[in-house]
Amino acid sequence: MERSSEKISSSSSSSSIPSTEDKTANGTCLNLKETELRLGLPGSQSPERKLSLFGQDLETNDKSNGFTGSPLKNLVSGAKRGFSDAIDGSNGKWVFAMNGKSDVELAKGAVLASPRVGLDSKTNPQQAKTSVSVMKVVVGVPQSPKPVQAKNNLVPPVNDHAIAPASKAQVVGWPPIRSFRKNSMASNLAKNSDEGAGCLYVKVSMDGAPYLRKVDLKTYNNYMEFSSALEKMFSCFTIGQCNSSGLPARDGLSESRLMDLLHGSEYVLTYEDKDGDWMLVGDVPWEMFTDSCRRLRIMKGSEAIGLAPRAMEKCKNQN
């Protein structure tokens, strides 16, 4: 089955279901039978057997399919006996057996998960894409009668910032780090995002300019400062153009400066966000912008009317 190296998408996976692995030219394959969630130990398959996660063969360590070489992300074990609980296809319990009894089962490659999670074993490929994230929210799933982690295994946050460990579905006590360190690091992360410590360099390109620049978004507090900095940076390319449109003098910068630039229709400031979409700068609050901005493009106004899809395509192609 021909597979792109991109993420599993529902359309392509709804076609034929091979019972054995098909290898493709780029080494990835989809064995849809494998998308049945089954319990297995990490390392429970023989060394020659490639580890699979939801049918994606990880042989090529192809990271672009959305899975890294680590098949056991988001384990939910809670130090439970993952080996003796069972699920079979019909009644939704986990099937697993140890020590030779079902080496075949083991060899098929599987994912270690909490025996208490009553996931539907008829997981279809569409779910396979989202099943990683499904496991992430398993903690709150009411299907199982018991909590995923015994309550005396939950890490009570010492301070308000220790949210990171509890919100993801993780193995209890893994990685083996003491609570104090975990909580300190969590509060570090929270601090950094509040205070904006560190730096956030993004590339800035300008249509027609021979080279790109980089700016540290953290050094600016609002759009006003940012646009004036950009202006300074790229002034050598735009001499005469901004001024000729009758914009206010630099000293009299106002918050609408950026809007003026835009409405002046000489240049439009756009950015690519985390999702890969091209957006107009200025719509969202400054903090949200710095959080999501990956790179910037100063494009000619004429090419960015309403940021039409055509303009977006052009931006993408030129990158």
Binding site: K80, G82, N153, N159
Partner: protein, 585 residues
């Protein structure tokens, strides 16, 4: 014949007394009092009855690795002259929340016996014990000579208990509060040291979070002229640090507070010159929220540094490299993996004397970032630091080849703790298990005492360990192995094994029971989320009456499964303070 044998006996007695008088007990005791190592002392005590007695009368420090292996009464009976006690309680996995909160290891019963038998007790060092504020107060008022209190990974107390210590212990020289589950109710405890109190030499409150009264601290540091260790918490600012250092330039160990205040040029220069006055400093830690621009202030103080603990300072590789250029004598380095492989390359280049490296993960729970350190960083360090013998390394990828290279460069490892953070992850280049990596470690590093394994591992790893790791004392295993055979190899092969801790491995009753004879020579065994059943544990308990076999059940688990098993040898018999969730078989 009766007279002949009694004559023989008499001549024997006189021979012995002749021998004894030529080597009086006092001399023996004097000689033995110079022995510090508790293992040496144990050996001495086994020589003969005289030596046993001489040793017990001359021993002033007792180390108890498992508080339930012996009772305080037994200890007090054997050793009448103890001044210093080190006690360890809960199994190590309690640090990672695998042990129920009310499990035990309460110090109070010990304190009551000590108050009666060792009224002149001076030192108490506790690790993974439960200690309440009442116990701390009891301690503070029961021992007039009390000098040193050190608490690591303990819980059950609050800063009120510290206040009691500060108030009552007039001769205190050491207050060392390391990472604990302490209920931090505020910093006023520090103000409880009386104005007349001047004896403090060691003060470590780095892991408390509340603000303390800086004025009280400044005065305290000012009047304790013998202070050599001062580890501040995050609430102490750079400016305050500078003021403290002015009155304590003699410090040998410094833990800074927060290293990120906005300083004027003048303030920065003051800090720099004050730090350069600290000519005795060999250990530096803290550096919370360290900003790269202020690190150069440390440079002049680093020339004699042997231990640098940056594990709470999220430095980047360039910042670390610049700092290390000033630390040529470094022997121990703890960092966060924010320094990345480039930072570790700088370690290899600048620290040829390095013996210990610990790399902690800054963001252990986010496996979507591709940051941190890889095998390349570890390899780089190994090339530059041939004396490396202790490593704790958290990473997200590793290869067998890299580990083979590392141990080839550094064959003297005594402690090799590798944590590939994703459970069961193979060699990321070859996709093979990491068996050969740990095989290389145990084959090459003959002095290996402690090993923590991780990654995708088959039973072969444990075959290697059993066959080659002849000096191994502590083994930690998680998410590894294929069958009982793995654990059997270890139990059958490692003659010096003392502590074995296993979680989430497919080892069952056959494996557990294969160690029947071994467990009495070990301190303890921990197995959780394995394949052991209650019947297996009952069998073990029945066969080995001198072992305590404890099973911790979890809510709603199968009745026949032994979720968590803790086995340890004891001369005190089964404990009586176990909570309902802990079954002693």
């Amino acid at each position: 014949m009766g007279s002949y044998s009694s004559e023989l006996k008499r001549s024997k007695d006189s021979d012995e007394s002749a021998r004894r008088s030529s080597f009086p007990d006092e001399v023996l005791e004097r000689v033995l009092s110079l022995l510090k190592s508790h293992r040496d002392r144990s050996s001495v005590s086994l020589v003969c009855k005289d030596w046993y007695n001489a040793e017990r009368w001359s021993r002033t420090h007792v180390f108890i690795g498992n508080c339930y292996s012996v009772s305080p009464e037994i200890v007090a009976r054997r050793f009448p002259r103890i001044r210093s006690v080190t006690l360890k309680g809960k199994p190590r996995f309690s640090d990672f929340n695998l042990v129920p909160e009310n499990w035990g290891a309460d110090i109070h019963a010990w304190l009551v016996v000590f108050a009666a038998k060792y009224p002149f007790l001076e030192e108490l060092r506790l690790k993974r014990m439960a200690i309440s504020d009442e116990s701390l107060e009891f301690l503070a008022i029961s021992f007039p000579n009390f000098k040193a209190l050190s608490l690591l990974s303990c819980d059950g107390f609050s800063t009120n208990g510290l206040a009691a210590i500060a108030t009552h212990c007039k001769n205190l020289t050491e207050l060392d509060i390391q990472e604990n589950g302490i209920d931090d109710k505020g910093g006023s405890w520090l103000s409880c040291f009386p104005e007349s109190f001047t004896s403090l030499e060691v003060l470590n409150f780095a892991n408390l979070t509340s603000d303390i009264n800086f004025d009280a601290l400044e005065k305290l540091v000012g009047r304790c002229k013998s202070m050599r260790v001062l580890k501040l918490n995050r609430s102490v600012s750079l400016e305050q640090l500078q003021r403290l250092l002015v009155s304590a330039p003699q410090l040998a160990e410094l833990g800074t507070g927060s290293f990120s205040q906005e300083l004027t040029i003048h303030e920065y220069e003051d800090l720099e010159s004050t730090l350069s006055n600290c000519k005795n400093m060999h250990t530096l830690s803290g550096l919370w929220d360290a900003k790269g621009i202020y690190l150069p202030a440390l440079y002049p103080a680093c020339s004699h540094l042997t231990f640098l603990n940056l594990s709470y300072a999220a430095l980047q590789s360039v910042e670390l490299a610049k700092l290390l250029a000033h630390c040529p004598r470094l022997k121990r380095l703890w960092v966060l993996d924010t320094v990345e492989d480039k930072g570790l390359e700088a370690v290899g280049l600048n620290c040829p004397l390095l013996e210990e490296l610990r790399v902690f993960p800054a963001d252990p729970f986010d496996d979507e970032i591709v940051h941190g350190v890889t095998e390349a960083g570890f390899v780089a360090v190994s090339f530059g630091c041939p004396r490396l013998h202790y490593v704790l390394y958290f990473c997200r990828q590793m290869t067998n080849a890299a580990v083979a290279t590392i141990v080839q460069n550094c064959p003297d490892f005594t402690h090799f703790r590798l944590c590939i953070m994703n459970p069961g992850q193979p060699d990321y280049l070859t996709n093979e298990p990491m068996d050969e990596a740990f095989g290389a470690v145990v084959k090459t590093c003959t002095k290996l005492q402690r090993l923590s394994v991780s990654g995708l591992l088959t039973d072969l790893t444990f075959e290697y360990i059993g066959r080659y790791a002849k000096n191994l004392e502590t083994l930690s295993v998680a998410f590894a192995g294929r069958s009982d055979w793995g654990m059997q190899c270890v139990l059958g092969g490692c003659p010096k094994l003392r502590k074995l801790e296993i979680r989430d491995c497919p080892f069952g009753n056959a494996a557990l029971l294969s160690g029947l004879e071994k467990y009495e020579s070990m301190r303890s065994l921990w197995m959780s989320a394995c394949n052991v059943t209650m019947n297996g544990c009952r069998l073990l308990a029945r066969e080995m009456p001198r072992l305590n076999v404890e099973v911790m059940k979890e809510d709603g688990s199968d009745d026949s499964q032994a979720d968590k098993v803790y086995v340890y040898r004891s001369i005190a018999g089964p404990r009586r303070d176990a909570p309902p969730s802990v079954l002693t078989l």
